[in-house]
């Protein structure tokens, strides 16, 4: 897998503005901070005469992701995805879109909160939702190990890699 799939994304935390080059749009937003931003995008796109499908929820749940998958499946080229919300949620939606064949160039992202993270445990494979920045330590919800949040993001599974904080000492 290429570097582009594993680097930590650097997405804007200020409104990047609407990408006007598309023909039809899906706007997805997560959490209260993202709602007014997404609503603004929706208004602007409607005013431009574009077709817009909007979705808002508290988080990128399994249902939200399944809904997005359906949208991508029925989308034709010319479609754009605009995402707003906490990093862990937009990352998950972003990953789903890429899996469906959407290109980075067709996705606009606005991150409202870069702290909440989904951490994938390298030891038991569980995914933990944590308020932990890169380099911090958080407990694994699966095996209870203390995980160091490593600066490696899987864009495919939308998780940060976490491994046992004191692994080195144990060797």
């Amino acid at each position: 897998m290429g570097l582009q799939h594993t680097s930590v994304p650097r997405w804007p935390t200020a409104d990047p503005g609407v990408d006007r080059t598309g023909r039809a749009y899906a706007v997805m937003s997560f959490g209260p901070d993202a709602a007014p931003l997404a609503a603004g995008w929706g208004r602007e796109l409607h005013a431009l005469g574009r077709t817009v499908w909007s979705w808002h929820g508290e988080a990128a749940t399994d249902e939200a992701v399944a809904e997005l998958r359906r949208q991508v499946e029925y989308a034709t080229v010319g479609w754009r995805l605009m995402l707003a919300g906490p990093q862990c949620d937009v990352l998950r939606a972003h990953a789903e879109a890429l899996r469906g064949g959407v290109l980075e160039a067709e996705i606009t992202v606005l991150v409202t909160d870069a702290v909440r993270t989904r951490v994938w445990c390298a030891h038991c494979g569980a995914t933990t939702l944590a308020d932990a920045a890169l380099g911090e330590v958080t407990g694994c919800s699966g095996c209870g190990r203390s995980l160091y949040v490593y600066h490696h993001v899987s864009r495919r599974t939308a998780t940060h890699l976490g491994f046992m904080a004191d692994a080195e000492e144990l060797q």
Partner: protein, 313 residues
Amino acid sequence: MTLKLVVRRSTEIAEGIREIVMTRPDDGPLPAHPPGSHVVVDCGPQRNAYSLTNCGIDPGAYTVAVLRRPTADGGSGGSEQMHRFQPGDRVALSPPRSAFPPVSTARRHLLIAGGIGITPLLSHARNAVRWGADVRLLYVHRPGAGAYADELSELLGERAQRVTEKSEFSVLLRQALVSQPMGTHLYVCGPAALMDRVLQEAAAAGWPPQRLHLERFTPAELDPGQPFTASLGRSRRQVSVPAGTSLLEALENAGVEVPNMCRQGVCGECRVPVLAGRPLHRDEFLSEDERVAGDSVMCCVSRSETETLEVDL
């Protein structure tokens, strides 16, 4: 490296179009290549790039199709020479170069061909059918000049649309551009006006440049451009490049050797790394991403947007 091949067959396959089949003198295997590759053929005074119609796996022969383009002065075109080749004639050509391959992650390949531009797309179509990939073809040509029409309809059946009316093409193009599933990549080859139009309409329909791939089989008309200075990073020399002189020519005049082949921005041979400054890309070789990266330049045709372009020479 030059391949020395023998013409085995030359057949008129449509009005003004000859198909030329070349093999090694001993009929041995030739270098394999990705679909959509081209070779640069020595045709008398000129070297021309021609697409290979083979899909590229294990080729025993290279096949090109050449449209005769009579020129006003009676033959700078090189295609005249290609049409004169007889079985048994020797021909010198470059190994295949890939500048127009299918995107492996594409969910569908939409092929759009104008006239003789069908040749690289025939290679794509054969490859797609071989691997069971989702493919569609839209092919427009003059009446009577539909090279490979039968073969394509046999290969693709309903998935191929072939028209000779411009108005009909317009309608089909517009329909095609708004109905492709997400993940489709578009490949176009044909006359410059057709390609410009397809790219323009695709952009208007929301296609990002990353999904659009083109192969120009005639070099774009290039304007003389603005003068600039090439700064040679290694030898610490400054070479000025006047309008109307290519960077490659200016380097050659200054005694700097750069490998080159087609001198028209298609073969990829003359690529030079850029250390500073912004290249003005005018070639057909670099991909969209490589253009954006701006860290190399095809010096036979491309110039500089900045007053100085620092190159790693």
